[in-house]
């Protein structure tokens, strides 16, 4: 009778499988203890970076005995975020870029944490413009952190090798072009490169447009008009076109996303590229870049209305979190993202761990509160700063004087995606019709804007 029984077992295996799956419901928490899942670092981060993160987790749990943290690897990208949101697999604390928090909160996908945020001692001190990216009708749905401004990252070692002074990075777009040509001719690598894919081509083009005084979207009378065919965007694209087809100083890879470009820079295949001012952390964690060889300057600004594109992340709480979980989540956001700016002891503790784990301290950022608070917090950790200050001084000193311009507000990712293709066209097709391509983008994105119900 052995074989029939086995056959039955095999036949009902599916049933068992389904039964086993239903058993996976979350275990009940012991009295008063709260467990929340929190976003940790992006996949592929170094061992040291993870060690530093876990050390902070331990410190938090020590200070909050009733809260247990469960860190999970997390990286915001359009496609993975969509499926995590839909699948309900987002951690309790996660982050989204400035560009996406408004549409998420309007779709009811972010928890209202107003009450818990108001309890924080610095609640009233936020730069209101920044807080606005994750607020609506006076309610707060997220806390902005780590704002960056657009700059040009450059390889100081390659500058020296090409006979240029790494302490005097280019300050105008013409100087950028001239330096790129010298580096490209002498070292046979790209002198200057540009993001081109994964929506980053549009992101960088927008930053370049702002630096020349143009805007991608304009609002008047409550109506948003997509204006990518503005003269400054055309000039930015013509500039790229000339670097590619006249100087040939931009290398040969025009399909690079954020990670791909960082890797190129890390391997010494390009000397300059426009990037966020916070990119150094990732360059160290992922691409083994030595901060000593790294330089950062502001994006050259010229003309009326010119400014620096600024963006950042919002720490947000899962809409499914209970009141206790929300409170715990905000405590973690306060501890991990904010206290390094507001609390001397925590700021020093954080810096110590980072230095111990060979992580960069002193990566240039913009203020969340005001410049004075930022300067004070930097003063606390002065002795731990391991990013050579002189290397990022051109950015730090320059960014004060500049107007900060936020990213386009409506359908930002779709706009960037459509612009990617224009940037690629200009760099791969000598005869690309810039104006016609931009008008195509206008038409496409305007249709999306007009279809919105709000």
């Amino acid at each position: 009778m052995k074989s029939p029984r086995k056959a039955v077992i095999a036949t009902v295996a599916i049933g068992a499988v389904l039964a086993a799956l239903t058993g996976c419901s979350p275990a009940a928490a012991p009295d008063g203890k709260i467990t929340i899942t929190v976003a940790s670092l992006i996949p592929g981060s170094s061992k040291d970076a993870f060690a530093a993160f876990y050390a902070r987790v331990q410190q938090f749990e020590k200070a909050h005995k009733n809260i247990t943290l469960k860190p999970v690897e997390y990286q915001w990208t359009g496609p993975t975020f969509a499926s995590q949101l839909a699948g309900g697999t987002l951690p309790d604390v996660f982050n989204v870029p400035f560009t996406d928090s408004q549409s998420l909160l309007q779709a009811g996908q972010l928890a209202d944490i107003t009450a818990d945020v108001k309890k924080l001692p610095y609640a009233s001190k936020f730069n209101q413009n920044l807080l606005q990216v994750a607020s609506k009708d006076g309610k707060i749905y997220g806390i902005p952190y780590g704002p960056y401004g657009y700059g040009i990252s450059y390889n100081r070692a390659l500058f020296t090798k090409a006979g240029l002074d790494p302490n005097k990075p280019p300050t105008t777009w013409d100087e950028v072009r001239a330096d790129a040509k010298i580096i490209s001719d002498k070292l046979h690598i790209a002198g200057f490169m540009q993001f081109t894919s994964g929506n980053t081509g549009g992101w960088a083009l927008t930053a370049e447009t702002y630096s020349r005084g143009g805007r991608m979207e304009t609002v008047s009378g409550g109506k948003t008009t997509v204006t990518t065919d503005n003269p400054q965007t055309i000039a930015s694209l013509q500039y790229l076109h000339d670097l590619r087809w006249v100087d040939n100083s931009v290398g040969s890879n025009f399909l690079l996303d954020w990670s791909g470009m960082n890797q190129y820079f890390g391997a010494g295949q390009t000397a300059m590229y426009p990037s966020g001012s916070d990119v150094l952390t990732s360059l160290v964690q992922q691409n083994n870049v030595d901060p000593k060889d790294y330089g950062l300057t502001v994006l050259p600004t010229e003309g009326a209305d010119s400014g620096i594109l600024a963006g950042g992340n919002v720490a947000t709480v899962n809409v499914k979190a209970s009141a206790e979980e929300k409170a715990a989540a905000v405590q973690w956001i306060d501890f991990y993202y904010m206290q390094k700016l507001t609390n001397q002891a925590q700021s020093v503790a954080d810096a110590k761990i980072l230095v111990g784990a060979k992580q960069p301290v002193g990566v240039p950022q913009l203020p969340i509160f005001d410049q004075k608070t930022l300067d004070t917090s930097l003063g606390w950790i002065d002795q731990y700063i391991n990013v050579p200050k002189a290397n990022v001084a051109p950015f730090q000193d320059g960014v004060f004087k500049l107007t900060i311009v936020p990213e386009p507000a409506r359908h930002t990712q779709e706009l960037y995606a459509a612009l990617d293709s224009v940037v690629q066209a200009v760099l791969t097709d000598k005869n690309a019709d810039i104006t016609a391509l931009l008008q195509g983008v206008n038409k496409k994105v305007q249709a999306l804007v007009d279809a919105d119900t709000y």
Partner: protein, 313 residues
């Protein structure tokens, strides 16, 4: 397909069927054996197919409640300029794949069938690329296509004095480059299929042709090719159906670029559905996938109608 199921029924005809007679006749056992198939196909095949049709007429993204929108999704697809680019690109890919990938394996297979020693070596070498995991092959070729003078292919070209080529970095050469990789990865499988078909050609036919004084070329033309005709016709349409759904190469090598020159229909479906942080536009994605399915069904039908007389011949 009912012809494949024997029409002979085993169960004796009964006048009255009650639950009890059903049970006694082994109905429960039958059902028990059927359960895995019914559950798996029910949940993971039949339901999703029905769902696809339903979703194509809905506006749905998982976050908001689905709402019936009639054919609006189809209209949106037809109004999307990228749709026409994707259709063109996919057609171009399929065409190039035929030009690159149809004659060469046939010639190779015919030649290989005449190898007298170390036949296994030939087959093994031809099949090696098929064994390489597709994702590895794609990532490897992406590196080979480095457009700088230090790229792998450009270095090889420089040995024979050819200047560096842009490969995937130009709208004109990107698609042929993708097809080259795809052909490399698939040709081995096609060769093996043709080889199997070649060995099944009855030797008597060649003997008879020789009695009529046929030379090698005439034997190929009058015996081999006609005998291979059914399998050639089938692989041809299957290749078209397969290449119409190409995704891996453009997605991982070029991301659809440069300037949308390699974006394909499946990639467009993917981006409708998954490339929007608020949950995708599932309605448009399924609408486009149904359009593709309908097109392929019509194409197959017409193809077999058109070639029926020829293949029966």
């Amino acid at each position: 397909m009912s012809s494949t199921v024997s029409s002979a029924t085993r169960a004796p005809v009964r006048d009255r069927r009650t639950p009890l007679t059903w049970l006694k006749g082994g109905g429960l056992t039958n059902l028990l054996f059927m359960v895995p198939l019914l559950v798996i196909f029910g949940v993971f095949s039949w339901t999703p197919i029905v769902q696809a049709v339903v979703m194509s007429v809905q506006h749905t993204n998982l976050v908001t409640t689905p709402e019936f929108v009639g054919f609006a999704n189809f209209v949106h697809v037809f109004n999307d300029p990228t749709f026409y680019t994707a259709v063109q690109n996919t057609g171009y890919f399929a065409l190039l794949a035929l030009v690159f990938g149809f004659p060469a394996p046939l010639i190779a297979a015919v030649l290989m069938s005449e190898v007298r020693r170390a036949k296994g070596l030939f087959s093994a070498l031809a099949y090696l690329p098929v064994v390489v995991p597709p994702v590895v092959a794609v990532l490897l070729w992406k590196f080979f296509y480095d457009a700088s003078p230090h790229g792998v292919f450009n270095t090889i070209l420089s040995w024979v004095g050819i200047p560096p080529q842009p490969w995937i970095q130009s709208a004109t050469t990107a698609m042929p480059s993708l097809v080259l990789e795809a052909t490399w990865a698939a040709a081995g499988g096609t060769i093996i299929i043709y080889l199997a078909a070649l060995t099944s050609v009855a030797p008597e036919l060649y003997d008879a042709a020789e009695v009529d004084g046929a030379g090698i070329w005439r034997k190929i033309w009058h015996v081999t090719l006609p005998q291979l005709r059914p399998i050639l016709l089938v692989t041809l349409i299957l290749q078209i159906i397969g290449t119409s759904q190409v995704f891996l190469e453009p997605f991982l090598i070029t991301g659809g670029g440069p300037a949308n020159s390699t974006i394909t229909i499946l990639q467009l479906i993917y981006s409708y559905a998954f490339q929007n942080s608020l949950g995708g536009n599932y309605g448009e994605a399924t609408a486009l996938s149904l359009l593709l399915a309908a097109f392929l069904a019509v194409l197959s039908f017409v193809y077999f109608r058109a070639t029926k007389a020829w293949s029966d011949n």
